[in-house]
Symmetry: none
Subunit: 212 residues, 4 copies
Amino acid sequence: MADRRAGAPARNRELRARGQRTLERLLEAGATVFATRGYHAARVDDVVKAAKTSHGTFYLYFSSKEDLFQALALDVAESMVQLARELPDLAPERAGDLHVWLARFHDLYARHRVVIRTWTEAEIVDSDMGRVGGDLVAQFSRELSKRLEAAAPDIDPEIAALAFVGMIERSNYYVESNQVPVPGTEMASTLAQVIHAGIFGTGAAGVKAEGR
Amino acid sequence: MADRRAGAPARNRELRARGQRTLERLLEAGATVFATRGYHAARVDDVVKAAKTSHGTFYLYFSSKEDLFQALALDVAESMVQLARELPDLAPERAGDLHVWLARFHDLYARHRVVIRTWTEAEIVDSDMGRVGGDLVAQFSRELSKRLEAAAPDIDPEIAALAFVGMIERSNYYVESNQVPVPGTEMASTLAQVIHAGIFGTGAAGVKAEGR
Amino acid sequence: MADRRAGAPARNRELRARGQRTLERLLEAGATVFATRGYHAARVDDVVKAAKTSHGTFYLYFSSKEDLFQALALDVAESMVQLARELPDLAPERAGDLHVWLARFHDLYARHRVVIRTWTEAEIVDSDMGRVGGDLVAQFSRELSKRLEAAAPDIDPEIAALAFVGMIERSNYYVESNQVPVPGTEMASTLAQVIHAGIFGTGAAGVKAEGR
Amino acid sequence: MADRRAGAPARNRELRARGQRTLERLLEAGATVFATRGYHAARVDDVVKAAKTSHGTFYLYFSSKEDLFQALALDVAESMVQLARELPDLAPERAGDLHVWLARFHDLYARHRVVIRTWTEAEIVDSDMGRVGGDLVAQFSRELSKRLEAAAPDIDPEIAALAFVGMIERSNYYVESNQVPVPGTEMASTLAQVIHAGIFGTGAAGVKAEGR
DNA sequence: GATGAATGAGAATTCATTCAT
DNA sequence: GATGAATGAATTCTCATTCAT
């Protein structure tokens, strides 16, 4: 797994224990630095210092700053795609499943918040990196769209899917960037409530009551 | 108005007709360049070339690249804040008002898409520019939160407000960056439908029928 | 002329007096630095220092070290091509013309020795720069070949032309790089003598006597 | 022989079979890489990869990139010096000997073309490597000069020797770098013809006829 | 003997900003 | 008001060489 995450130069070599450790240090340092300073403000020098290694070594593992970011991003993207596939079927009586799934989403988001935040920052749609983010949104939408089609034939599934994906993503984003002081669990349940109501029209009150 | 939008240096001077025109050219060029290349990749040189003027002149009107962006952004922010204040009261029987408002939002978003997109890109929370974006989200949330509190006491107003704001923003973003080929009007009505149902639980079908 | 010699970036702009001077300084500095340290060992920094200007300025006129060299080389190549065209017709009784032409060649070679030397050093045939050198040799050979065909039908004109061109070039090279302490004039006359004999077989002695 | 060619570090050690093979692989790889990319563009990494060995090993046999080149060059230089000594005496009736010798020169040149080409490229007169090339030219010139002095008292022997050496070297260079599509044998005979005529004035036609 | 890993001193290049006319 | 020219700090990336196993 760490192997797969390696950047271009490292992918053509086998890594021994030492190299493995260095690679790991670099990845971690990258995550930290990107998180604190943002993609554009991040300097290779910062990463190198954080990883307590040298410039030369950096380029032994990654061909550029972007390459490092890609390595981090692809890894996250993969987990995300996996989660998208596990989105439960939507049914009036299965609000709980959605809630659980949203909680899992939040966990994943929180764990990878740093990379995801960077994503958004780096996201210019026609760049290589933007693609990754865009593809991911598409993937989520597609899965959700399928569920919606089955569950709520009166809603335009594509648009609604996109809207809900946006809602979920941004809510997590706002919460994780501390723009709102709310625990993730509360957010998950409010989201579940609102989405469920939005689809099945049970009325917010009902779900809330049910949730208690 | 153009005056208010001007960057720091220009605010201390009177602008005659010629200066006025140069300023306008720079602002427009800025919008274009930021839109096409993104904030970070945009070069003062690009702006200057697009405006058919010189570097020296640029700094006669703006103190920096960021200053130019701020000038563009503040203008947009203002319109947005204004729109936020005009968010209609929420009530089960007034779904139409929401729909109308969402359509207006979309118009504004589409018109200023370039600046807003750049915003998201430049948005690192602790930068000066990030503030503007964050403040705006807060403003929208506050307004929506007030309405929600009054209309749906069973939902956590703050979280739900944030969720809906996120939904609205992202939906517009996805549509405007062509990640989904959907006309803005359709998006507005689906959004209205889903939000209304999410709050009042009338069921999606009902709103849709009503909308026709 | 100086304009034509400018590197890529400068060719798209008009240069005012000041820029003109800077450009000239850079070209001269380039010639000197290339001459003293050789193409590969030359640093942009050296050039910049010699021209008493800054790195930034350098890249305002040339897109790279290679670009600067090209600018210098093309200029020389042009003079050379011109000279090649003026190669006199070969005839037994016109040894003097050849002698005169060889002296002119030597003058030109000496004046541009630095660039030409660099040429040889940089000359890897399949590089852009190598082309220039190769083309030049071809040009000389072609001209000489034509003359030989007319004057000495028994010699393979192409090979002989190439041989003589090589002889002339190397002789000048050796002399100019001080590998042999010989005044250019003497070299020119010996060359004339040997070439003339090689073509018309008058015997070396004869020409030498004639030369006195 | 391989031993003598080894670089500094290897000369202080005894090489067993394995080491012997590694050394050979490195030398061969060096020749190839220098040939394809040229001295300056050649990377130790390229050599190491071509030799299927490691950086560490490289420095077990050669103290530097230059050391490797020297090892290759000295070997060639030696053969060349040897050939220079075997230059036949020049006499009107012994044109054939010269022809034979030129053919041998061409063989040697062709076989070592890669190193020789590199030579020319690396040749900055005041570098260690330049010396080797320069010395070699001097050696050839000296030998030829002696022969000329004896055979053609009317020609300045030193200059003419240099001129002929240049002619021979460049002709081979042009032919070997494919700047002219001529078989080596033809070149040798044309060179013989022209040189002979240049010295003895038999006239080109005569020699050519004689050659047949 | 051999090797993968690490190093760090350069080198080229960019670009926001200031200067002089 | 406008502009061409100049600046130089900052940054990325390279690669010969050394180190530790």
